[in-house]
């Protein structure tokens, strides 16, 4: 809690408002070289306004700010489609090893063998987990992995003389990045509807595939948290029509070691290391979205990939560009600081641990489903995978919306589920517990959900006004969008 300000609350003033001329946060060394002449003053900048604050102020400000957050280190974060699992502290430690974190990306390869080895092994592990032929670690988030994936599909068709294949099919339940990435890759997008079981509508798919088909982007399990039961046939239909199958691997936590997407014939998969492989989300990144591909797409992988060459028992690692690479996605080799954490995570878990993850993630989600389905609607009466999509349809009759329930959970000390996604479920509340939460935590969450269900019957206005115990109450988001105030301005 900060000192109350003149408005009687504890808003934290912005740094520019804390500025007092002359204060400083650090001393920099004086120059140790003879004075060099500056160029023509016309080239030089005149004024620059930045905060002038002391070091203790900076520490206190950001420490106090941090406490306004919910986080995995402090709260259960049942945010569907986000896999908010425990982020092991050792992974931050290994990423900070000086030989890693101070390694410059242009360092000659012979002086960066340790880092390249980490990348090489991570590539292999990801290829193994997905059952694919090769992996590039270059993409810096899931969405960039998607872009890489669709660009590879594009390049593949072009090399085959099929540049007319411009149609990308995407289920209506898909994550927004899928269509957005397809569009960035220059594809036209068509949505495939879902059937009453939450599966992709196979009939609709068959009607949509044609000679313009480039491929399909699907998520397995789907963003409804359900396993696509016709997946073998779906792949078959797409492949027969000359399309490729793109797998959005964001939901990999459900199938780690239980199923390899490559075995099903997927052609390319991106993996969200900041979900399944537990790199911390950082309040919205950095992430990493490596792409793993089947044999026929290997030549198109984004650059770089790391290769191993064994010469007289000594392995040498180097960065290479595949023959028909779609090119670079960033200036260097991907988000190495994220990659090394994912590597450490896989090493820490091992094969059995990875299998245990999916097993427990799925048990946890089904346990929530089993205990909540009496009080909340569920659109599809089946077992779920690693997450469960509830609907607040019933509560809506009392004027309580999914949003209200989500906000009310904050008062109970839980982060809210994902709301209103997937778009095809009315009043969706998508809950992903992950394997790193204990039964007791789930029980406490269930108790809260049940209590809110009761509140929604008895005191709906209380639920509608939530949250009450959070640092701020509901925000005027319309005002934010109507009169954008996007930075401090001098008054």
């Amino acid at each position: 809690m900060a000192a109350k300000n003149d408005k009687g609350n504890n808003e934290l003033s912005l740094l520019m408002d804390q500025t007092v001329v002359g204060r400083r946060g650090i001393i920099m060394p004086a120059s140790d070289v003879p004075v060099q002449p500056l160029p023509d003053p016309g080239l030089l900048r005149e004024n620059l306004d930045l905060p002038e604050v002391s070091q203790p102020q900076v520490v206190r400000y950001f420490t106090q700010l941090s406490q306004l957050n919910y986080s995995i280190d402090t709260h259960f974060y049942p945010l569907g489609s986000c896999t908010m699992k425990y982020n092991p502290k050792i992974n931050d430690v290994v990423a900070a090893i000086p030989g890693m974190s101070y390694l410059h990306p242009k360092t000659p390869e012979k002086f960066s063998q340790g880092a390249l080895k980490v990348m090489y092994r991570l590539q292999s592990y990801l290829s193994e987990v997905t059952g694919m032929s090769a992996t590039s670690l270059a993409s810096m988030a899931g969405a960039q992995g998607e872009l890489a994936g669709v660009l590879m599909i594009r390049a593949y068709h072009e090399r085959n003389g099929d540049s007319h294949r411009k149609l990308m099919l995407i289920p209506d339940s898909a994550h927004g990045t899928n269509p957005a990435s397809a569009a960035m890759g220059g594809f036209a997008v068509k949505a495939i509807p879902s059937d009453s079981n939450g599966n992709m509508d196979l009939g609709a798919l068959k009607e949509l595939v044609g000679s313009d088909l480039a491929g399909i982007m699907l998520t397995l399990p789907s963003t409804l948290g359900l396993f696509e039961t016709d997946i073998v046939e779906i792949c078959d239909v797409v492949h027969k029509a000359g399309g490729l199958v793109y797998g959005d691997g964001a939901n990999m936590n459900a199938i780690l070691g239980q199923l390899k997407l490559g075995d099903l014939g997927f052609d390319v998969v991106h993996i969200n290391l900041h979900k399944t492989f537990s790199t911390p989300h950082g309040g919205g990144g950095p992430g990493a979205g490596p792409v793993s591909v089947a044999e026929r797409l290997v030549p198109f992988l984004p650059l770089p990939t790391v290769v191993e060459k064994v010469d007289q028992d000594v392995a040498q690692y180097s960065l290479v560009k595949s023959d028909h690479s779609i090119g670079r996605l960033g200036a260097f080799h991907g988000n190495f600081g994220v990659l090394i954490r994912a590597y450490a995570y896989i090493r820490s878990l091992g094969a059995d641990g990875l299998r245990q993850i999916s097993r427990d993630a799925v048990i946890n989600a089904n346990y929530l489903l089993a205990r909540l389905k009496e009080s909340y609607d569920v659109s599809y009466d089946r077992l779920c995978m690693h997450e469960v999509v509830l609907s607040a349809r019933r509560q809506k009759k009392n004027g309580v919306r999914g949003l209200d329930i989500a906000k009310r959970l904050l008062d109970y000390g839980f982060h809210a589920p994902t709301m209103y996604f997937p778009l095809i479920v009315d009043e969706a509340l998508m809950v992903e517990p992950t394997e790193s939460e204990s039964k007791e935590t789930l029980d406490a969450f269930i108790d809260a959900m049940l209590a809110i269900a009761t509140e929604s019957e008895n005191i709906p206005e209380t639920v509608r006004g939530a949250p009450y115990s959070t640092p701020v109450s509901r925000l005027d988001e319309a005002k934010a969008a109507r009169e954008p105030d996007l930075r401090w301005q001098s008054r």
Binding site: G334, S348, K439, L475
Partner: protein
């Protein structure tokens, strides 16, 4: 791992917990929950080594780290897009706080004001450092930020040609190609003095300081672009923007930069953060996340993700970009760094980079056989023409414990791109000069 049943520290539930839960679920085994996986595909082999205890893991990675030669191990002169600067201890102390590190994207603003207010500070500081109206909350890195700048210009102008200066970093041009070509955008080279741009050009794109470290004189080209109703998208460096007139001051419409120099470890190339700014009028075409200030129901100031109708989760294939997870934490790093450096500190660092690199250049060009082939004003990086192949020279330097500059002989005859920042001491600079001079003989 000790023998016996597998209980992993990251997974709390025990066999007994599971049994209870499976009973509630109404199945008799976890396998049943995976029954939708088609026959023949389930429970594949998994060729991944068994769990490594934390103690062994740390040792393995320390050993791997020792196989690398990192940038603080001795005199080091590489830059070329990733720059070493001193990172005050406060930066890591803050960024490592679990409440920042392990939070998700702030979809629930009521419990995410920490992340959100920090992002607003980021947008403020980026706007101030790059001297532009508005900044978004950060892109993946400098190169993709630059590429998205070109895409944004094409969106704004509904034109599909991009003219680029060939002094832009080749890595940046590669990314530009990856991002633009699939959308049918044509990109073509121009020089800073070009007065003819192709019809239907959406924008010119350039970098200053350019790949060679030199301030690019862009006034004329930008004027030409504007006269054809094209935009100017300029990549810059934050410290260069502190010392030199920033691109916005001579008309750039979209200014991007690699944010890494502002307190982010070089970390073998990432994660970094792309800075992205533009003129106010284009705000609704920005890619990426944006945080805005508003009030809560008690009229308390609060911050929230805003202008989301640009984004993929709402606009899907019509979004301004596919960005979802971005680089909030790295943005926070640069924010804390900028706050600690502050108005004076950041100028001092920029000055030190300038002073030290110019001192190095002045000495090197006096060595027989070495010269500075380029004209103009550089900031902290410069090209040296060497008497022999730079890669050979680098081998010799390395044997003396010095990591030399980047070999760019593919672009400039025997060219070596040398970077000097405030962390290079005079002793290191003089060691380099001595070594180069010995090699030159």
């Amino acid at each position: 791992m000790q023998s016996g049943s597998f209980q992993h520290p990251y997974i709390p539930n025990t066999p007994a917990d599971r049994e209870e839960m499976l009973k509630v679920i109404g199945v008799s085994s976890a396998e049943e929950l995976f029954r939708d996986i088609p026959q023949g595909y389930s429970a594949p082999s998994l060729d991944i080594p068994q769990a490594l205890p934390e103690m062994d893991l740390l040792r393995e990675l320390q050993a791997l780290g020792d196989e690398n030669r990192h940038a603080d191990q001795g005199p080091f002169f590489l830059g070329a897009g990733a720059y070493r600067h001193y990172i005050p201890a406060v930066v890591q102390a803050i960024v490592n706080r679990g409440e920042f590190l392990t939070a998700y994207t702030p979809y629930q603003p009521e419990v995410s004001q920490g992340t959100l207010q920090a992002a607003y500070e980021f947008q403020t500081m980026v706007g101030q450092i790059l001297d532009m109206d508005v900044a978004n909350a950060g892109m993946y890195d400098g190169a993709s930020s630059f590429a998205e700048g070109a895409l944004m210009a094409c969106r704004i102008k509904r034109r599909y040609k991009v003219a680029y200066l060939d002094t832009v970093s080749p890595d940046y041009i590669d990314v530009l190609k990856t991002y633009t070509l699939p959308q049918g955008i044509e990109i073509y080279p121009v020089t800073a003095n070009s007065t003819n741009l192709k019809r239907e050009t959406a924008c010119i794109v350039a970098q200053s300081p350019n790949f060679y470290g030199y301030i690019e004189p862009l006034e004329n080209l930008i004027e030409t672009a504007h006269s054809l109703d094209a935009l100017a998208v300029i990549a810059t460096d934050p410290f260069a923007s502190v010392l030199f007139r920033p691109p916005g001051s001579y008309g750039a419409d979209i200014v991007t930069a690699e944010g890494q120099p502002l307190g982010v470890p070089v970390s073998f190339g990432g994660p970094y953060v792309g800075l992205f700014t533009c003129k106010k009028e284009y705000v609704r075409q920005l890619p990426g996340r944006i945080v805005g200030k508003t009030v809560d129901s008690n009229i308390r100031t609060a911050y929230v993700l805003t202008l989301q109708t640009r984004e993929q989760h709402i606009r899907r294939e019509k979004a301004t970009s596919n960005i979802c997870t971005s680089t909030a934490l790295i943005g926070l790093m640069t924010t804390v760094y900028s706050a600690i450096l502050g108005k004076e500190g950041i100028k001092e660092v920029a000055q030190l980079c300038y002073q030290k690199s110019h001192y190095a250049a002045s000495l090197i060009q006096q060595i027989p056989g070495y010269s500075l082939p380029l004209d103009g004003v550089f900031f902290q990086e410069f090209v040296v023409e060497c008497p022999r192949s730079p890669s050979e020279i680098n081998e010799t330097l390395a044997s003396k414990g010095i990591i030399g500059g980047l070999d760019i002989s593919d672009r400039i005859h025997n060219g070596m791109l040398i970077c000097v920042t405030e962390v290079n001491t005079r002793v290191e600079i003089e060691a380099l000069v001595q070594a180069l001079s010995d090699i030159g003989k």
